[in-house]
């Protein structure tokens, strides 16, 4: 994309329209009045975890900064505490918009691949839907080995005493590594999820088609 066409896209309503149509609650973005109460209220913001606080993301959407918004890690840092929703003087459902943008970025493949929240969400979903029960041992091990085998071993060694403590207390079963427990009607769960996927796919396809 040449600099000229990038400039031409900038400050047009296009990206805002895209967000309004594609993102859940996206039609609220235009109502932000840039007071910054959301950013000030965010409990994670003091750690500078946010590349762009919510009101800045909204301004970037209006300014047509498509690439920067969708590849941002910012919306993935939301912990859903709902402080911003409670405090927003314009009553914007900010938490929902954050999740909406994250979901959209994921859907169109622009979300940062190894972002921890996003990675964990995928891992959890796969783990839980396989047997209908969450296998905690496999879930935590998957997370340990996220950044490669050597790092995984290191992470495991660091958590050794905690793990042994859990085993002693009967809160962690080593045998879970082999198969693990399941729900009674595993097939029924799978069928239910399949149906849900289908409904969701149709809904989004219709949305994408406009």
């Amino acid at each position: 994309m040449s600099a000229n066409t990038a400039l031409a896209e900038k400050y047009r309503n296009n990206f805002l329209k895209e967000i309004e149509e594609q993102v859940e609650m996206g039609d609220w973005v235009k109502m932000c009045m840039q007071c910054g109460v959301c950013s000030g209220s965010c409990p994670t913001n003091f750690q500078s975890a946010w590349e762009h606080p919510p009101q800045e993301l909204f301004m970037m959407i209006r300014a047509g900064k498509r690439e920067e918004v969708l590849t941002s890690t910012s919306m993935w840092n939301c912990t859903s505490c709902y402080n911003c929703i409670v405090r927003c003087p314009r009553k914007l459902p900010i938490t929902h918009i954050m999740h909406g943008i994250a979901e959209y970025a994921h859907r169109i493949g622009m979300a940062p691949k190894m972002q921890a929240t996003r990675f964990f969400s995928g891992l959890f979903w796969k783990n839980a839907t396989k047997t209908g029960r969450v296998n905690e041992l496999k879930l935590s091990m998957g997370l340990y080995f996220k950044d490669g085998f050597a790092q995984g071993v290191k992470n495991g060694m660091a958590m050794q005493s905690v793990a042994l403590g859990l085993v002693k207390a009967g809160r962690l079963n080593v045998m879970e590594l082999f198969g693990g427990h399941k729900c009674k009607d595993q097939k029924g769960i799978q069928a239910m999820l399949k149906k849900a996927y289908e409904i969701e796919r149709n809904r989004k396809a219709a949305k994408m088609a406009g």
């Binding site: 400039l7 031409a8 400050y11 309503n13 805002l16 109502m31 009045m33 301004m59 209006r62 300014a63």
Partner: protein
């Protein structure tokens, strides 16, 4: 002053009888005050006490009354004797409430009370009962200058109240700016869309009212006289002059938009596709008359993208443009963006603002614009680059801190340039500065006088530094520094239609108050109802012109021999002329160099070995004196060595009082007046400022008396300084101990 008989009354109520030796006070009044009739009463302000005084007036022939009780600000209805001269000694708020109730304090507290009795007796003997200004006029007609929304509303409101109105409009039609608007910002629920201006209805109401006489294409050729008896010459287009007798004047001459040609960097004047807000209203009105599509002025193509630049030439810190915010333009731009969005939602509308200010119910209107898809961008516009029919608006995005932000392919740029007051000639502008401006090759239009007053101080009402007419925007918003002349609407401060209509109503009521008071020979404000007025002993006058120059209200003209001519109805009774007069020939019946001088001299000054200093406080009756009274109500104690005299204004202080006090052996003098300067709180606008200028020269006097300059202190006091004032007094008293006793004691 034939046959005065003075009586003194000492009250024992409110604890005065317990804390003070009232029998001694009665004796002081008789012996030191030389009052033949002195009495005490258990409860002076009750029916029995007041009846006693009234009986003495009737049967004993008492003409002058000294009441030693509470502050002069309290019980004014009970102690109301309009036929008599009345002085009040403040024994309650001024003595027992500010002193501790202890045995050791008893002596100094009693001394304080005794001095106030002596002072009251001295003051009342120097007074006469005010009789009212005889030089009155009874015209009840109101002149309204300007036929815009403000002027028409003033006329309608005054007419509804029963006062005839003469309305003078410069152009050929009523309506003013508002008549040029396509629509106005909504003032009714749900505040979502632009509304009809309502100007047509106002015009027909004015034209249909037989009580309102309208002059179109007319100007004011001359304004002469005073409230209640103004004589105004109205010049019409034909060259004829009509003379009208007028009681009071409301100037509603409105505003002009700041000239966008002064903003070439924003494209002002360089392309027809860059317009100001009035330009867009014209485009919208033309569109409404046609197919409803707002078109680009250069080639008539429909506008697909429009950018509104807020604060264009406003809130400027460089000194080149307007320094202030006009307050109405954000709402106006939101309204104008809706013209586009309501007709066609696919038009891109961007409002670039630094701070979006939407007073009134503008917040709902703002929200409605966001719902309609108007884009609001916080940024500062640097430049509008014209490329043929379209332009690029370059700006610094203040949220994303992007200094290279831009909106491209913009069909129309609207500059929100703000209001400049049509306030006539700036009479305070130094002549040299005007000449300098004339030397530059500027095409500035020389302002034309609006009222053409025949006043000595100039043909128009005084202005603030930004050119709006001078009025305190909180305390007395419509009152100009010319009594009986009021300003309303954007000539007074920038505002929108809703605020202007409110202003118009307020000014109409103020003008009615002024003409009614003028007929009765009373002051309008802030000493509303005051019957005293300045009297001058012309045989002593040296024609120095200080009074005519200094009067903050232009009340004093000069005759051909340069003697002052007092127009009493224009006077606000501040006494600035009295303070200015070097030969002390100006006085009021109940307030003069003598009434205050007598109080200063009446105080008993203990000798230098007594360790009882005496401090004179001259306290402004508008702010400082109420603050001192309230300090008493809150029982905030202060030194027993001060003697407080209320004055009408710091401007009324004649330096002879200070010289007299220091000569008499006072150790120090404190002056308490209101804040002066651009953010003045003075009730007489310039009084405290003029007083301070005079006091700044007191150092020379001190030098000739061989006294330390700490002996005179000038202090700024606000009405809220209830705790600060006692602290200031105590601090000063402590300082004076360090300076030592005055060497003038005992002479």
């Amino acid at each position: 002053m034939a046959d005065i008989k003075v009586a003194a009354y000492i009250c024992k109520g409110c604890g005065l009888g317990d804390r003070l030796d009232t029998d001694a006070l009665v004796k002081i009044a008789q012996k030191d005050g030389k009052v033949p009739l002195a009495k005490s009463h258990d409860f002076l302000c009750n029916a029995d006490g007041v009846a006693m005084i009234k009986n003495d007036i009737a049967s004993e022939g008492v003409t002058h009354i000294m009441i030693g009780a509470c502050s002069r600000r309290a019980k004014t209805e009970a102690f109301y004797f309009p036929e008599n001269a009345v002085a009040r000694a403040n024994l309650r708020e001024g003595v027992i409430w500010i002193r501790p109730d202890t045995d050791e304090a008893r002596e100094t507290t009693q001394e304080m009370a005794e001095d106030y009795i002596r002072m009251g007796c001295g003051e009342v003997k120097a007074m006469t009962a005010p009789g009212g200004n005889p030089n009155t006029g009874g015209s009840k007609t109101m002149l309204v200058v300007g036929g815009g929304v403000t002027g028409m509303t003033t006329a309608i409101e005054a007419s509804k109240t029963g006062y005839p109105v003469v309305l003078v409009e410069k152009t050929g039609a009523l309506g003013g700016w508002a008549a040029k608007l396509y629509k106005r910002v909504p003032v009714h629920e749900p505040f979502k869309s632009p509304a009809d201006t309502g100007v047509g209805e106002l015009v027909s109401q004015v034209l249909g009212d037989s009580n309102i006489k309208v002059y179109l294409n007319a100007t004011i050729a001359k304004t002469d006289g005073a409230p209640g008896r103004f004589v105004v010459d109205v010049a019409t287009e034909s060259g004829a002059t009509h003379t009208e007798d007028i009681g009071a004047i409301v100037q509603a001459t409105g505003f002009t938009l700041y000239d966008m040609n002064k903003l070439p960097e924003l494209g002002g004047g360089k392309s027809p596709n860059v317009v100001d807000q009035a330009g867009l209203e014209a485009l919208a009105t033309a569109a409404a008359a046609g197919d409803g599509v707002i078109r680009r002025p250069s080639d008539g193509q429909p506008v697909k993208s429009v950018v509104f630049v807020q604060c264009a030439g406003q809130r400027d810190t460089t000194g080149q443009h307007l320094s202030y915010c006009s307050g109405y333009c954000c709402n106006a731009s939101i309204k104008q963006a809706m013209y586009f969005k309501d007709a066609n939602p696919s038009v891109d509308t961007t409002i670039i603002y630094t701070d979006l200010r939407t007073p009134g119910n503008g917040e709902d209107f703002y929200r409605s614009a966001q719902e309609k898809g108007v884009i609001f961008t916080k940024g500062k516009v640097a430049e509008v680059v014209l490329n043929g029919a379209t332009s690029t608006v370059k700006f610094h995005d203040l949220i994303l801190d992007d200094s290279n932000a831009a909106v491209v392919d913009v069909d129309l740029v609207v500059l929100a340039t703000g209001q400049v007051a049509n306030s006539g000639i700036n009479i305070d502008a130094p002549a040299a500065a005007a000449e300098e401006a004339g030397a530059e090759p500027k095409v500035e239009v020389k302002p034309i006088s609006i009222l053409n007053l025949t006043y000595r101080q100039g043909p128009d009402v005084p202005q603030l530094k930004q050119g709006f007419t001078d009025s305190h925007f909180i305390c007395f918003p419509y009152e100009t520094r010319r009594t009986g002349i009021y300003t309303a609407g954007p000539v007074r401060r920038p505002m929108d239609i809703a605020q202007a209509r409110e202003d118009a109503t307020g000014a109409a009521l103020k003008a009615i108050q002024a003409l009614e008071n003028a007929e009765l020979g009373r002051a309008a404000h802030p000493r509303s109802g005051d019957l005293s007025f300045p009297k001058v002993r012309l045989e002593g006058c040296t024609q120095c012109k200080r009074c005519t120059v200094e009067c903050p209200f232009g009340a004093i003209d000069e005759d051909e021999k340069r003697f002052p001519v007092f127009n009493e109805s224009r006077c606000r009774r501040c006494g600035t002329c009295m303070g200015a007069c070097p030969v002390r020939v100006i006085s009021f019946e109940n307030y003069s160099v003598n009434t205050v001088g007598a109080q200063i001299k009446a105080v008993d000054i203990p000798d230098e070995f007594s360790e009882k200093p005496r401090i004179l406080i001259l306290a402004c009756e508008n702010d400082a004196y109420p603050a001192l009274d309230m300090a008493g109500m809150s029982r905030n104690e202060y030194s027993a060595f001060v003697r407080i005299i209320p004055i009408r204004c710091l401007g009324s202080v004649n330096t002879i009082w200070i010289t007299d006090a220091l000569n008499a052996g006072y150790d120090g003098v404190m002056m308490m007046g209101c804040k002066s300067g651009d953010e003045y709180q003075c009730h007489f606008v310039k009084g405290s400022e003029l007083g301070r200028v005079r006091l700044s020269k007191i150092d020379d006097t001190l030098k000739t008396l061989n006294l330390e300059k700490e002996r005179v202190r000038d202090l700024e006091v606000a009405i809220t300084d209830i705790e600060r004032v006692p602290e200031m007094i105590n601090k000063y008293a402590a300082e004076l101990v360090a300076v030592g006793p005055s060497p003038f004691k005992g002479f």
